[in-house]
């Protein structure tokens, strides 16, 4: 593809250019490097933006020296060579699992938050009342009309129409390009108070701390994308069928074996959609006469699946192991309602990392309870797989627990692997049962080859591929978490050395761990209220007041370096705890995190968001950026 000489010359050119700060119309070295694969991949819109650097996103602040070799595009995966900005995601052995204490805001904040909702409520009802009487045509679709009941009554949709609608510009923003370190927004505006959103045709590149791209595998160039291209050429786009009806290829078999090896289970089954992994396989796990105990904040897909299963459901307070134990004692001693017959089985379903809270399941406690109360443990690792643990194997790895202590490990590929779909891993008996009795096997389309290849390539580069001579076969198979044997990979996948050796994967894991801790602790030291575990790449920052969501979102986007954020409120959170949720990635550089912290610092003062630790304990933003490494070890 490219020779070392051409690379070096490109690099030195870029070096010189960046040093002199002269704007020349050639692209960055990494761009010219990796776009060599196909000429058609030269994307005009992307390069257009890349050329100028007024937003500070396209070129690294510190130009690479000639010893540093970056194989990624800076806008997709940031260049960061400083080995200090690395950390390990691991629970310190022998220490207690930290209890998350939720900081309370001052009362006046809560008070005005309620007042805000009251005002919205009053306005909403008044407008509905007036509108229904004096502007009937616009309310037709909300009222019985021509013998049809409304699809959506005004009562059911009140929250959507009167609350969410006002801040609709924060949601469903269309984008283009790679959801990597940066993302390109398609600018839009609404001429009629959010009834319609029109695209202006303009584009804004922003720093992306919103996508679930934890390990930065959302890339259009690089070893994984090359493998995906190869797979399209070899396998085409689709396998045209359900897994049991002719839609299975050898890639599926390899992929499933690889996932099983990755998470340390006997076998695994793959499904083409993360949501469907829960909603179509849980009904095959439990049924009538079984009990599901579910964390109150579990994802909608889990609830969907449980509801379809016909099993009884009980919930316990989020992450409260005491409450879980009490509940377990109650349900086991009482048995099934009315009949008091013993339960056939009890399945406890928790998430590894909660997507709105950033909290982590208290796995050591769960494993203890499992031993004592004999329930089956199901962990949804949608967000934690790849993102946590020294080897990226999720919460199980983070706490150093043997995967055999968990019965069912579920996860998705949408997040850390930059792909789509999900898996369930467990014992061979269990997985075979799911293959036959889960809804997906017989009816849902199987995962497509390009997606499978992205999963295989990214997963293999996190694990590293073992050199055949180093380890004997049996040792390779049993060691967990170890590298993957080349036999488990399709022969045509040819990862570049940095990925194949697992060195880059390891680097990504350590960069993510550093960025997570740095952002989390930095925000805390600035005086913000954040939720969740400091090792979590999901960092919620509390805004409380619904009005602040919109303005925060807007002001972040309108900065010199635009920052793209996700704001969430009721019903995804409780009514008062509206928040902005950052999803940090290994693709971000330390400077990117600085940039986010600096923006938050300014907005925090402006919008009165700093209600966390007391003034005296806070650090200034300068101090924080300077002592980043120290912060990341706190």
């Amino acid at each position: 593809m490219t020779t070392a000489a051409s690379y070096l010359s490109a690099l030195s050119q870029a070096d010189a250019r960046a040093r002199s700060r002269a704007d020349s119309p050639t692209s960055t070295p990494a761009l010219s490097l990796s776009s060599s694969v196909t000429s058609s991949s030269e994307d005009t819109t992307l390069n257009e933006v890349d050329r100028e650097n007024s937003d500070g996103l396209s070129l690294p602040p510190r130009p690479p020296t000639s010893e540093q070799v970056f194989t990624t595009v800076h806008t997709e995966f940031g260049h960061c060579a400083n080995e200090e900005y690395r950390s390990t995601s691991r629970h310190p052995p022998g220490t207690a699992v930290p209890r998350t204490v939720e900081q309370e805001p001052p009362y006046y904040v809560l008070f005005f938050t309620y007042i805000s909702y009251l005002i919205l409520l009053t306005f909403g009802h008044t407008r509905d009342f007036v509108g229904k009487h004096f502007n009937k045509s616009r309310y037709n679709h909300l009222m019985p009309n021509d013998g049809y009941a409304p699809l959506n009554s005004d009562f059911d949709s009140f929250y959507t129409r009167r609350f969410k609608f006002r801040i609709d510009q924060c949601f469903s923003q269309p984008v283009t390009g790679v959801a990597g370190r940066t993302i390109v927004l398609l600018d839009r505006y609404s001429p009629d108070f959010n009834h319609t959103q029109l695209l202006t045709g303009g584009r804004t590149r922003g720093l992306n701390i919103s996508s679930y791209n934890y390990l930065g595998f959302a890339q259009a160039r690089g070893g994984c994308a090359d493998a995906v291209e190869e797979s399209i050429n070899r396998y085409g786009i689709s396998t045209c069928g359900a897994r049991l009806e002719g839609g299975t290829t050898d890639l599926h078999i390899l992929g499933e074996a690889l996932v099983a090896k990755f998470v340390g289970k006997e076998d695994a089954v793959i499904s083409s959609m993360g949501f469907a992994t829960n909603s179509t396989f849980i009904p095959a796990l439990v049924g009538k006469g079984c009990l599901v105990i579910s964390d109150e904040l579990n994802h909608a897909s889990i609830r969907f699946g449980v509801r379809l299963s016909g099993a009884q459901v009980r919930m316990f307070k989020h992450n409260d192991m005491k409450a879980l134990e009490n509940l377990l004692r109650e349900v086991i001693s009482q048995g099934q309602p009315k009949t008091h017959r013993p339960w056939k089985k009890i399945l406890v379903i928790v998430e590894g990392l909660y997507s709105m809270e950033g909290t982590m399941a208290d796995l050591p406690a769960l494993v203890e309870l499992r031993k004592k109360y004999k329930f089956y443990l199901f962990i949804d690792e949608a967000h934690s797989i790849g993102a946590l643990g020294p080897h990226g194997r999720g919460v199980v790895d983070y706490f150093g627990i043997d995967p055999s202590s968990v019965d069912v490990l579920m996860g998705t590929f949408t997040k850390s692997f930059g792909a789509a779909g999900g898996y369930i891993a467990g014992s061979k008996t269990l997985i075979d049962h799911l293959r036959v009795h889960g809804h997906s096997g017989a009816h849902a389309e199987s995962m497509t080859p390009p997606v499978l290849t992205q999963v295989i390539a990214s997963m293999a580069s996190i694990m590293g591929i073992a050199l055949p001579s180093k380890l004997s076969g049996s040792e390779l198979e049993t060691r967990h978490p170890g590298p993957v044997s080349p036999k488990l990979l399709p022969q045509w996948i040819n990862l570049p050395p940095a990925l194949a050796s697992g060195q880059e994967g390891n680097d990504r894991l350590r960069r993510l761990a550093f960025n997570s801790r740095y952002l989390h602790n930095g925000l805390r030291k600035l005086g913000f209220i954040t939720y969740g575990h400091s090792a979590s790449p999901i960092v919620p920052l509390l805004l409380f007041n619904p009005g602040k969501m919109c303005i925060f979102h807007r002001m972040m986007r309108d900065r010199q370096t635009p920052i793209v954020v996700v704001v969430v409120a009721y019903p995804a959170t409780s009514l008062v705890t509206s928040r902005v949720r950052f999803c940090i990635s290994a693709a971000h550089t330390k400077e990117d995190v600085d940039c986010v912290l600096r923006a938050c610092d300014e907005l925090g003062d402006l919008l009165d968001l700093k209600h966390g630790i007391s003034q005296s304990e806070r650090w200034t933003i300068e101090e924080i950026t300077k002592r980043a490494v120290e912060l990341s070890h706190m």
Binding site: H125, A179, S210, V228, I237, G241, K345
Partner: protein
């Protein structure tokens, strides 16, 4: 006037009840603490005077308190009800009970026949297509994969996909609400809506999960669903999760549908029930047997009784009609007459995902309320582009569908004359189901040309049960037939034709479907090959059935 306002807000509050309880209780706490803050008196005075100025708010707050009290009382009564059944144990007793309890194993091992079936699932080595290679190195003719249009392996689409990959990467890494709406998704939604002639369309990332998400987005507890007894598994699950009131009508029998609708209307009038949302749910071409619904008649009925129609076109979109627009094209019915058309871009366009097309109001509603739309990442951009390209090819190269029709015709020519089997599928259906003929089976395929005309002298079926009225006369032994069909599948495969049984989730369906072999026609095979392959299947059936005797 104030009284009226009270009434209006009152019922709205029922829907928002949890919100208000939380609001009010927290408000009280906050207010108590607020009084302790210096200067609070000033604020309080302000609030009070504002109450005087705005009686509406005072009423509101009053209602809040009433509701808080009601809910508190309610939850206590709920606990009491529980309490009747609650046995008090000492901690020691609980410990003993915990020790005694032994749960069932998480999953039962497969039965030998399930195991054999699973082991016999064909695995392709390399790409799918009309003549794929199996993992044992053998090349087979493919009548199993859903490659109706023959778009699998299309070089143009592959190239477009690679280009998309190089611009967008693979995954979208976010749900549509949070930066997962990529311009190519919007383009595909536009393409589908324009193709079908609806106002809008919404894209889901898996075909199977589409309709089971669409149904509960609209139909809630208390709403009425009238569904065909033969609907596919995804619809059954959607109906189940919606918790609506369900009435069933005989499979593809629109007379029976009318009777059921008539009955519902009568009952509603008798009981003076309020108007609720009402839906008819059926499929265009049924996944289970390939029968086709009479759309013009169905639309007429739904208009007459004022029901909304949810039509699952997973198997008819991209396969029937001159350009593959599905049933609306076959019957020349305006797509806007069908309230929701659900299709699969995985099946019809050889990509992945599903969609729902309809009016602006219908689609917007799903963007907030469709569970698997809201809570799942959007589909990878390159798959969306592949689907868009598929539509373009359908529009420009309609001889794909021409070839498909020829192949269907060729296959039916052979199968319809074959007396060991019955074919329940419509002659235009790209999926052809094959039942083994039981001695007392009589329907001939000609009766499927038109939807059933139910013999009026039999008494109508019970609409509250999913079980067809003739279920008691069914004579086939599911286990035995499954076994025979599996032998036929394996025999055909050994003769170089890959086919599959229609896989059913036994024990999870509303009604156990009759075991069948499902052939999927493809335009990628020349007619001669199709004929040869179907003849091979025929020979396999003959051989296995002969062995049985």
């Amino acid at each position: 006037m104030p009284l009226f306002a009270f009434g209006a807000t009152n019922s709205s509050l029922t829907a928002l009840e949890p919100l208000f309880t939380f609001l009010t209780t927290s408000l009280t706490i906050a207010e108590g603490a607020f009084n302790k803050i210096p200067g609070s008196a000033v604020v309080l005075r302000y609030v009070k005077s504002s109450h005087q100025n705005d009686p509406g708010r005072t009423i509101l707050e009053l209602i809040l308190v009433i509701f808080a009290i009601r809910t508190l009382l309610q939850s206590r009564t709920r606990e009491d009800r529980n309490g009747n059944n609650f046995i008090q144990f000492t901690p020691k007793e609980v410990d003993e009970l915990v020790d005694e309890w032994t749960p069932d194993s998480l999953a039962q091992p497969l039965t030998p026949s399930e195991q054999a079936d699973l082991a016999a699932v064909p695995i392709l080595a390399g790409p799918t297509g009309p003549k794929p290679k199996l993992i044992n190195g053998k090349q087979v003719t493919n009548l199993a994969s859903l490659n109706f249009t023959g778009l699998a392996g299309n070089e143009h689409i592959k190239q477009q996909a690679v280009e998309t990959l190089r611009r967008y990467g693979l995954g979208s890494c976010g749900p549509p609400g949070f930066y997962g709406t990529v311009d190519v998704h919007m383009a595909l939604e536009r393409d589908i809506a324009d193709f079908l002639g609806t106002e809008e369309a919404i894209l889901y990332s898996q075909g199977f999960s589409t309709i089971s998400s669409v149904i509960p987005a609209y139909s809630k507890r208390g709403d009425i669903i009238v569904a065909d007894r033969g609907v596919n598994f995804a619809i059954q699950k959607g109906i189940q999760i919606s918790r609506s009131t369900v009435r069933w009508y005989d499979h593809n029998d629109l007379k029976s549908l009318e009777q059921v609708l008539e009955g519902i209307e009568k009952e509603r009038k008798k009981r003076k029930q309020p108007l609720t949302r009402r839906f008819i749910i059926t499929e265009g071409i049924f996944e289970r047997d390939g029968a086709m619904v009479d759309l013009p008649k169905l639309v007429e009925i739904k208009m007459k009784y004022k029901y909304r129609l949810i039509l699952d076109e997973s198997y008819s979109f991209g396969t029937v009609g001159r350009t593959g627009r599905g049933l609306t094209e076959v019957y020349n019915v305006l797509a806007s007459k069908v309230d929701m058309i659900i299709g699969s871009t995985a099946i019809g366009l050889c990509s992945s995902g599903g969609f729902c097309a309809g009016s602006h109001i219908v689609i917007e509603h799903q963007r907030i309320n469709g569970p698997s739309f809201v809570f799942s990442a959007s589909m990878p951009p390159l798959l969306a582009v592949s689907a868009s390209e598929g539509i373009k090819l359908l529009l420009s190269k309609s001889d794909m569908l021409e070839k498909l029709r020829v192949n269907i015709y060729e296959a039916r020519q052979i199968l319809d004359k074959f007396d060991l089997v019955t074919i329940p599928s419509h002659p235009d259906s790209p999926i052809i189901h094959i039942y083994l003929r039981a001695p007392n089976d009589c329907p001939t395929s000609s009766s499927f040309l038109h939807p059933f005309s139910s013999s009026s002298n039999t008494k109508p079926s019970n609409p509250t049960s999913a079980l067809p009225r003739d279920a008691s006369t069914w004579t086939w032994d599911i286990e035995e037939e499954e076994h025979l069909l599996q032998e036929i599948v394996e025999e055909a495969q050994s003769q170089g034709v890959m086919i599959t049984k229609a896989k059913q989730l036994r024990g999870q369906e509303n009604v156990e479907p009759r075991p069948s072999i499902r052939l999927a026609m493809t335009s990628a095979l020349p007619p001669a090959d199709t004929r040869a392959a179907v003849n091979t299947v025929k020979a396999a059936v003959t051989k296995i059935l002969k062995r049985r005797k």
